[in-house]
Symmetry: D2
Subunit: 142 residues, 4 copies
């Protein structure tokens, strides 16, 4: 069992575009999945294990679970801060997210995603994360 | 506390379009939120309380929580069956979803969304569902 | 030079979902590209030359030109009829589109897309459509 | 008749996210409409006449025509430069776009959009651009 660490955290900022708004003039709830992926990409770049490197390592990492809690809406033009942190890695890659208003720091959305490694060659799901993930994270494999 | 009932269930079918696929040639996980909304619309139509009637009743119902579990991927052209069921209504509107392969019945995705009523006039969140929801569901208000 | 023919036409219907609306409560203009692809898929199915068969034939057909003229907006719940017709095929695949209100027949949007064949093996663009397209269309190659 | 001027040009950069890719591992052609809107927003901010100010001035400006020419595909992680320029303004707002590879300057996509003013109060389309647009552009009304 591993516990949350502050070693694998990434942050980025973006702002709300018109095309992500719904008739309430707030971001449509389904559009937040993009924000999660944006900052997840930044996080995975820091350990040099983003989409391309995953594929080159012989694995794809589909999302098998996603949970979002919407605390406050986001509106047109608003600058938001996206934060992602690796929470689990041994058997699956679980990432926690926090989206805040960039100026006030007010919490807007909390989320998590869980991915598992699938061996590209055999198409089989791995019940333990392949060593390449831990190598990239700079920790000894279990 | 209310328990799941089979009275408020809706189903519809659709098929997988090219524009929802990712480089793995499967539906990108964020795109499933659309499928949830498609069948939620069908469900809300059955109780005559979809987006327009909500607004006319003085409330909007933002999604405050969403959870998806991806069991198996969906591919180009695949026909999928979408099923939605109202699970809770007293204080919030919680809907459960099941997406299956239309032909084999194989489970692809499970999900749930929770919405709360917000009074359009006061912009305040309601901690108890407004009577209009229960009226539309044909049950006595608590 | 070939001229429009009524032999390669397809139609389908859909309705406007909430997630495609913008703050004006009309379909966001960029979302129409999906409607074009939906009916293009129906059209390409009629000649058995949709995405999968294209790939199996050794070609991909990227869109190189797209033009949309928006005549009237579409609103939540509206049923729309999508119509696609092959306009050119000798050197490129040009398809014309008409989106109308399903009930009144009122014109909403006109569009066209142009695709060219790219040989998957050589990654080269074909300046003349490969014979497989004309075979599927049931016409003699030029 | 007005001719293109270099006074109303804006540029911004972004990079290609995974969620915008299609099975060819390139950006799906319909997703480019977002890039156009991203840089159009930057351009309209420079004349202080973006979505909010348009609405406050009593007008909405729906897109009535859009044309895209795809020259070369964009791939995962690629940095792209977005450029927008006001081409016409007297009767309608026509903007031209150029998307290039940020590093090499290679042209990827050319596009244009045309918007017309619609009076929010009367819901009527304006055949001449309202004076507010020209004021914001810093030119004398015709």
């Amino acid at each position: 069992m591993n516990k949350p660490s502050s070693r694998w955290i990434a942050e980025t900022e973006t702002h709300i575009e018109f095309f992500d708004l719904d008739p309430m003039e707030i971001v449509w709830h389904g559009r937040y999945v993009k924000y999660l992926e944006m900052v997840r990409g930044v996080l995975l770049d820091t350990i040099d294990y983003n989409y391309r490197q995953m594929k080159a390592s012989g694995y794809v990492w589909p999302v098998i679970d996603m949970h979002l809690r919407y605390i406050a809406p986001a509106i047109f033009g608003q600058r938001i801060k996206l934060r992602a942190e690796i929470l689990e890695w041994e058997n699956r890659l679980k990432i926690g997210y926090l989206i805040t208003d960039a100026q006030s720091g007010r919490r807007l959305t909390r989320a998590s995603t869980t991915q598992v490694a699938v061996d590209i060659a055999t198409r089989e799901m791995c019940f333990v994360s392949p060593p390449v993930l831990l190598e990239r994270m700079g920790i000894a494999a279990c």
